[in-house]
């Protein structure tokens, strides 16, 4: 497989940021209460990660080693602020429901981690593949968690105001605990155990 393809696939399964690297769990746990939030968060996250990987892989040869991390942080913070302003202007409802977790992408360790561990050592094309792979890995994870939490926690599925599915006789008494922060830990813990048991993820 080409290095582009390899870098792309690696982020989804073998070094999935959530299920294998266990990075960036705070926003994952906090916003995974509905599919809408998960999709919005993934979009914002992938945009920032992609743009930051591209910019950093372009400038990494010129960045003095001493100010490497400050430069990365300024680039990431700028990108996040752009996304935040754009969301407030064009999708205010989503911006409201994601709240503080958009500005907090600045300190998301996955993004700085990829900048430091990958984009600052590789070319633009490989960095794009890495960003897309890791971004998809994050997206798959947060979508899976929020799917389970929304379905069992409220007994029904809604997507952007459209009603998709109701579990008959269950939506009156759903497992509300799954909607609480504690439920997020339960779901992610069980998924981690499941993937380990199935042999999908293994320690490197």
């Amino acid at each position: 497989m080409s290095s582009f393809g390899k870098n792309l696939v690696r982020g989804i399964v073998r070094s999935n940021p959530t299920f294998v690297l266990l990075l960036g769990l705070c926003p994952t746990l906090a916003v995974s209460t509905s599919l809408d939030n998960a999709i919005g968060m993934t979009a914002a996250f992938v945009f920032v990660l992609l743009a930051s990987n591209i910019l950093i892989s372009l400038v990494h040869n010129y960045v003095p080693d001493k100010v490497r991390i400050p430069v990365f942080i300024v680039i990431i913070a700028t990108l996040v602020s752009i996304v935040d302003l754009m969301m407030q202007g064009f999708v205010p409802a989503l911006s409201k429901s994601l709240g503080i977790y958009i500005p907090l992408i600045v300190v998301n360790c996955i993004i700085l981690g990829r900048a430091e561990a990958f984009a600052s050592k590789n070319g633009v094309l490989d960095s794009i593949a890495d960003a897309l792979g890791i971004g998809m890995g994050f997206g798959v994870a947060i979508l899976l968690i929020s799917f389970i939490r929304q379905l069992l926690g409220t007994g029904k599925l809604d997507l952007f105001g459209h009603h998709l599915f109701t579990i008959p006789g269950f939506s009156e008494n759903p497992v509300s605990i799954l909607m609480l922060p504690m439920g997020a830990f339960l779901v992610i813990g069980m998924l981690l155990a499941l993937f380990k048991w199935m042999g999908v993820t293994k320690n490197e």
């Binding site: 100010v67 754009m86 202007g89 759903p174």
Partner: protein, 181 residues
């Protein structure tokens, strides 16, 4: 030469910061009007859900009081209130009938209550209870008022009721002091 090297990181970082300031200024220029418009629309829409006959409104910044107008006549007042919920501050819009004696209704503007439990305070079945209630009767029914708390969401329900009660006392108190209406 060595001197140049020492300063290069500082210059580089400054450059990066300057570029990012330019980028952010441009973005702000594109989105500023849009965000302000969005906020204005949100307020108009909010008031319109409480006062279906609304045609326009005026805003008094000192008291934070909206006066809702229809055909030039006031058809009610509205102001913001805050409740201390389980997940943080709950922002509530309160609408009063023109005589300030009873509620037109209330609306939750922002809340971070637990989805599926406390977040039920945004449901019509809870909010509709406030419609037409006298300003002295805003209280949970177990405390002698007219509002039933949501099962499993006592903290959030209490937060809304107390926030509304408090804001009405403050707002009406202000008006008496100010001597208007």
């Amino acid at each position: 030469m060595s001197k140049k090297r020492e300063f290069w990181p500082v210059i580089f970082l400054t450059l990066v910061v300057v570029i990012s300031i330019v980028a952010l200024t441009l973005t702000d220029g594109i989105t500023k009007d849009k965000i302000a418009q969005e906020k204005q629309d949100a307020i108009t829409e909010m008031l319109a859900t409480l006062f279906s006959d609304m045609e326009s409104f005026t805003y008094d910044e000192d008291g934070g009081l909206y006066t809702v107008l229809s055909g030039g006549d006031p058809i009610g007042h509205a102001f913001m209130a805050q409740g201390r919920g389980y997940g943080g501050v709950i922002d509530i819009l309160i609408g009063l009938k023109p005589d300030d004696k009873s509620l037109q209704g209330i609306k939750i503007i922002t809340q971070q209550e637990t989805p599926g439990l406390g977040a039920k305070i945004i449901n019509a079945s809870f909010l509709d209870q406030f419609k037409g209630v006298g300003v002295d009767e805003v209280n949970l029914s177990r405390n002698g008022g007219k509002i039933d708390a949501i099962t499993g969401a006592t903290i959030s329900s209490t937060a809304v009721v107390n926030g509304v009660k408090q804001a009405i006392i403050e707002e009406l108190g202000n008006q008496h002091k100010g001597g208007n209406s």
